[in-house]
Symmetry: C2
Subunit: 221 residues, 2 copies
DNA sequence: CCGGTTTTGTGAACGCGTTCACAAGCGCGT
DNA sequence: ACGCGCTTGTGAACGCGTTCACAAAACCGG
């Protein structure tokens, strides 16, 4: 079955953002189930493992046209391929990480990337003391060497202090990077053709603080 | 079930989740503006600095009953207090971090916490080589010392490998922690009275991979 | 003191995502 | 072969969040 020539290709472009954000979670859950030797999995089981509602899971999977078998469930291996394909993990992007501080090292050593087809290809910094170090099998190089490193589809990861983030971002864009993941706690501006996502380590903590505070005051009733 | 039993009169407790998630961003933007010497700020300016729509910003602020001045804008200092108060950052929770690997060190050294009233109070691990080390002014202690550390409102942060996360989570819950932030790439289960949030460093990267992939294949059309 | 200008606060419309509920489909036991 | 039970896929309803558009309110210059 050549799925590529089917009109399903149009459906792929219409996957809701919320679904895409959950696909990596399903993928991880599936890997875990596969290691346990499971061959098929029902939506109920997979939903449990992924921590979501089973109806939501089925709707999500339906968006990428994956076909389970009614009365049986989903073939684990096939589903892994489907999701990996949908996420574009079969032909992995090159990932350039800028900023080899504590967070940068954590990211470089993070196992979750390589096992999913996303490996970091280059570590860049500007600190002379850091340049030349070997970290997770990569040699840290100077940020100036960035031009020419970006070949084809590339993702840039910013793990620098906030004050350096915008300049690094501009240099990434200038080098041809079209997707940027920002860990620095600052708002970046990019040209419209560049995808920008951010992860702020402290925001989630502040959200928890809110709930904790609300619990404390609410309990006083 | 706690939300269902809440009376409608407590409108302050009814701040939408989406709004809460943005308040920390506003707070950070306000800190930046305050350093620039701004005394008042319009919704347009603040929205720009925070990277959101101005209408959204106004609606968000209206939820916490903060009053700006029509024709003028918001008083920066007052707004900072309002948001800090709403997030419960004025009486900071104690934060316990478990797992002093690369990521744990990054979190311990992350400036964004302390400056917002959220300081990490304890670093715990089980690795004998790590215990006793001084990191960011704190001495790493053994996880066994956790009981008794949790006084009043506390937040637990899990930065361990995935395989250890559930056990650490259970021990945090047993010690009385009611809010947990999980950085380990695994699904945790907690009792219903415990708030659980997660940050998966690799998920955002996979989402970017999807968009990158889509851009590449979409351009071929 | 008053019209003009600026900006907030918010009701209403819209769109997206979640949830519900059930028909359609598949395998299995008899 | 055939019904029976299980599970998927999905239309429909619902709820939440975003966006729009504008009235109300405050300041300012004359």
């Amino acid at each position: 079955m050549t799925a590529a020539s089917l009109p399903e290709e149009r459906r792929r472009a219409a996957i809701p953002e919320a679904t895409i954000a959950r696909l990596p979670v399903y993928l991880r859950a599936l890997h875990g189930l596969a290691e346990d030797g499971l061959v098929t999995v029902s939506s109920e089981e997979l939903a449990e493992a992924a921590g979501v509602n089973s109806a939501k899971l089925r709707k999500d999977l339906s968006h990428l046209g994956s076909y389970g078998t009614r009365g049986v469930g989903y073939d684990v291996e096939h589903l892994v391929e489907q999701i990996s394909s949908a996420l574009g993990l079969q032909r992995p992007c090159s990932v350039v990480l800028v900023g080899v501080g504590n967070l940068g090292r954590a990211l470089a050593g993070y196992g979750g990337f390589a096992s999913r087809g996303l490996a970091i290809d280059a570590l860049l910094d500007v600190d002379p003391a850091t340049i030349g170090q070997q970290i997770s099998g990569l040699t840290v190089r100077h940020l100036d060497e960035l031009p020419g490193m970006v070949t084809g589809a590339s993702i840039g990861v910013i793990a620098t202090p906030a004050r350096a983030a915008q300049e690094v971002c501009d240099r990434l864009v200038a080098a041809g990077v079209t997707s940027i993941l920002n860990f620095a706690p600052t708002v970046l501006s990019v040209p419209p053709h560049v995808d920008l996502r951010k992860v702020d380590l402290s925001i989630e903590l502040q959200i928890l603080s809110f709930h904790e505070h609300r619990k404390a005051t609410g309990a006083a009733t």
